[in-house]
């Protein structure tokens, strides 16, 4: 048996060691793949879309379709966001923005971007606000027929939206390109250890001059509207022929400047992470909500949420004639909607409605409205 004694291992063409060996018998390796739990982005591969497969945006619409990614359409055009199967090798889905009504001349304050907010307590290892603040590397796959310069922007909600940005170029039409940026850690901006917004990521797709008149900031700088999208040359909404895709979004602690391979998680893992922010409990004809019982003139149903949600959740519930039905020994009663009664630990809720289906009833989605069946969902998005 022999021992190889070296202080480092380095590629012939590299300027730094891939593996550095220390005198205490340990080593530090600059590994670019197969490290688990390094991606701070939830649903970066766009595989979870609990709210549906597509959503039309007109005017100043600001809403989620694909889990954890919120699209803002704040101009005179319109677009449809969908979960697309167009994707680079190794991925099954992407988020697609398809322009359906053009806005060829943006007003100064009009814009559109795609946003993703990361919960602050999940970013404590970045060490922001300390001398040891860590560099992060962001990577994603992007594709569009509309080549040109776009802006990627990060803002810190806990520090008056201090921001950094990078311009990136889509070089070839209709071709997947992986983009990678590194941002030095912020030694003066603490990310609070709470359930609020830690970092907010924005992919700008169009920006009026209010957002482009400043300078692109490569280090965290006090927020100014003019800096946010400085360098954004493309107006994706200048033609209904335009479309833009993104997937494989990753944000990792990484100072190498080289993004690691995208960290794929299973669908079950990704869905559970998404459900902390949005949980679809029942949707579609005859979907079961839960058991119900009657007290006085009301019936009640206790619902266990899949995971503890980020905050006390909002309940989103259909509201039309006979949208729901409670069926029990005393027969069935139909109701148009449900009311949120109380909640505990953000994972158990009580809903109620006037009516008496008797003891041991089952509550479910019932009649459709214009062909669409009802739903019951809870949201605690950041």
């Amino acid at each position: 048996m022999s021992t190889l004694k070296v202080d480092g291992i380095r590629s012939n063409s590299a300027t730094s060691d891939a593996i550095t060996l220390a005198s205490n018998g340990t080593c530090t390796a600059n590994i670019t793949n197969n490290l688990s739990n390094r991606n701070k982005i939830i649903n970066g591969s766009m595989i979870c879309s609990q709210r549906g497969s597509s959503l039309a945006y007109t005017g100043s619409t600001n809403a989620y379709l694909i889990d954890r990614f919120k699209f803002l359409n704040a101009h005179d055009g319109a677009s449809t966001v969908s979960q697309s199967s167009t994707s680079p090798d190794g991925f099954s889905n992407s988020l697609k923005v398809d322009v359906t009504t053009a806005d060829t001349s943006l007003a100064v304050s009009q814009f559109s971007n795609l946003g993703h907010r990361i919960e602050a307590q999940n970013l404590q290892d970045l060490g922001y606000g300390t001398s040891g603040a860590k560099t992060i590397t962001v990577s994603f796959y992007v594709r569009s027929n509309k080549t040109g310069n776009y802006v990627f922007n990060i803002q810190q909600a806990d520090n008056s939206y201090k921001q950094v940005s990078q311009t990136y170029t889509i070089n070839s039409a209709d071709t997947w390109e992986r983009k990678t940026f590194s941002f030095a850690g912020d030694t003066s901006g603490v990310i609070n250890n709470d359930n609020g917004s830690g970092l907010e990521l924005y992919w700008w797709l169009a920006a009026g001059t209010i957002y482009t008149s400043g300078s692109s900031r490569s280090t965290y700088t006090t927020y100014a509207n003019g800096d946010a999208a400085a360098g954004q040359a493309v107006n994706l909404f200048d033609s209904t022929s335009n479309e833009w895709y993104i997937t494989g979004v990753q944000l990792e602690v990484n100072s190498s400047g080289v993004a690691t391979d995208f960290e794929h998680r299973s669908f079950g893992q990704e869905l559970a992470l998404c459900q902390r922010y949005y949980a679809m409990i029942a949707e579609g004809q005859n979907s079961i909500i839960g058991q119900a019982w009657t007290t006085g003139s009301n019936f009640y149903s206790s619902i266990d949420l899949p995971v503890v949600m980020r905050a006390t959740p909002t309940m989103e519930v259909s509201n039309w004639t006979n949208a729901f039905r409670a069926y029990g020994p005393s027969g069935g009663i139909n109701v148009s909607t449900l009311a949120l009664n109380s909640e505990s630990r953000n994972n158990r809720v009580l809903v109620n409605q006037v009516g008496n289906p008797g003891a041991g009833a089952t509550l479910r989605v019932y009649d459709a409205d214009s062909g669409v069946y009802g739903k019951l969902a809870f949201t605690a998005e950041i």
Partner: protein
């Protein structure tokens, strides 16, 4: 109950076993939105901003 369009919010209270819970209602595209009074809830944050602009929600029934 006709849902208000202006103001866009309506208060409501519910009671279970003597415990009274106050929440806020909003409606959009046949979806009723039940908003709890939790300052970490972004829908409640939006409601508070709307109130801060001088608006008042419709009283509970």
């Amino acid at each position: 109950m006709a849902f208000p369009t202006n103001p866009i919010y309506k208060l409501y209270t519910s009671t279970f076993d003597g415990v009274v819970t106050e929440m806020i209602l909003k409606e959009s595209n046949n979806i009723r939105i039940n908003i709890p009074k939790d300052e970490a809830n972004t829908d409640y944050q939006e409601y508070l901003e709307w109130v801060a602009e001088g608006n008042t929600a419709e009283e509970a029934d």
